[in-house]
Symmetry: C2
Subunit: 120 residues, 2 copies
DNA sequence: TATGGTACGAACAAATATGTAAGTAATGGC
DNA sequence: GCCATTACTTACATATTTGTTCGTACCATA
C-alpha cells in the first residue's frame, strides 16, 4: 500500500505471486485480521464500532486499514450515513459470500491439521 | 520463528489468530512462496535444486526457510540421502494432499475475483 | 593437491506489517 | 461555549518478513 521501490526484487517477486490465481487469492485474505473480519460479517451488517468491539485487541488503525483493503478488493461494501456522530456500516459483497464455503472447508482442514501437529 | 518478546501485543494478537482454525490454516500456507512450493510438489517428489530451478527468483535462503516451515507444519516430507554431493528430496504429506481440492477452489475464486476487480 | 556440485547456514540489510499514542471534524444537547 | 460521541487520521515506534552476500561440509575425480 505504501510507496515502494518499483525495481526491488521484493516488488518483482510480489508480481510473481500476484500472477498466480491461488497465491493472489490468499494474498487478498491474508494478513492478521482480514479473515476474522470477513467471518464476523457473515450474514450481518456491522458498524465500525461494532467490529471494533468484536475484536478487543485490534487497534482502530488496523481495523481501518484492513477494512479499507477489503473494500478496495471488493470483498466488503462500505456505506456512510450523513449523520453526526457519523455512522458507517460494513457488509460482505457477493464475491465475499462466494468465498464462505471454501473458507469453511479450510477451517475444517485447519482443525484437523492442528490436532495432528499437536499430537506429536 | 525467531526469538520474540513474549509479552508484546504483537505476540498476544498472534495467539488470537492461531486459536481460530481458519486463520491458523491460512497462516500455515501464507507467506510468499509456500503455496507455490506446495503446488509444484503436487504428485511429484523433487530435489532442493529442482525446486530452486522451478522458481528462478526465489533465493536459496527463502527456499530453505519455507521448506523448513512446511516440514515443521507437517505439510512436506523431507528425505535425506547419504550421498555426496548431498541429495534431499521433498514430497507432499497426506495432510497436504487433502488440501489440494480446497486450493483448487480458492484458485478458481481468485481468478474470478481478479477479473471482477480488474474490470472496474 | 585442487576442483566441482549440492544443500544448506550465518551475518547483515531492506521492506513491509503491525502496534502506540494522540488528534480531528461535525453537531446536538447541556 | 463546552462536552460527548463516532469513525477515522497522522506521526512515530516496534516486530517480522524477505532479500543479499558470502561461506561451508562432504568426497569423488582430475
Amino acid at each position: 500500500m505504501a510507496t515502494r521501490k518499483i525495481n526491488s526484487t521484493y516488488t518483482r517477486n510480489e508480481s510473481t505471486i500476484i500472477e498466480c490465481d491461488l497465491t493472489y487469492a490468499v494474498y487478498m485474505i491474508g494478513g492478521r485480521w482480514k479473515l476474522l473480519i470477513l467471518s464476523k460479517l457473515e450474514g450481518k451488517t456491522l458498524r465500525f464500532g461494532e467490529l471494533k468491539k468484536a475484536f478487543p485487541y485490534i487497534t482502530e488503525r488496523m481495523l481501518t486499514l484492513q477494512l479499507k483493503a477489503l473494500e478496495q478488493d471488493g470483498l466488503v461494501k462500505r456505506t456512510v450515513y450523513a449523520e453526526v456522530p457519523p455512522r458507517v456500516e460494513y457488509e460482505l459483497t457477493e464475491v465475499a459470500r462466494e468465498l464462505e464455503p471454501i473458507l469453511k472447508m479450510l477451517s475444517t482442514w485447519g482443525n484437523k491439521q492442528r490436532s495432528m501437529t499437536t499430537m506429536k
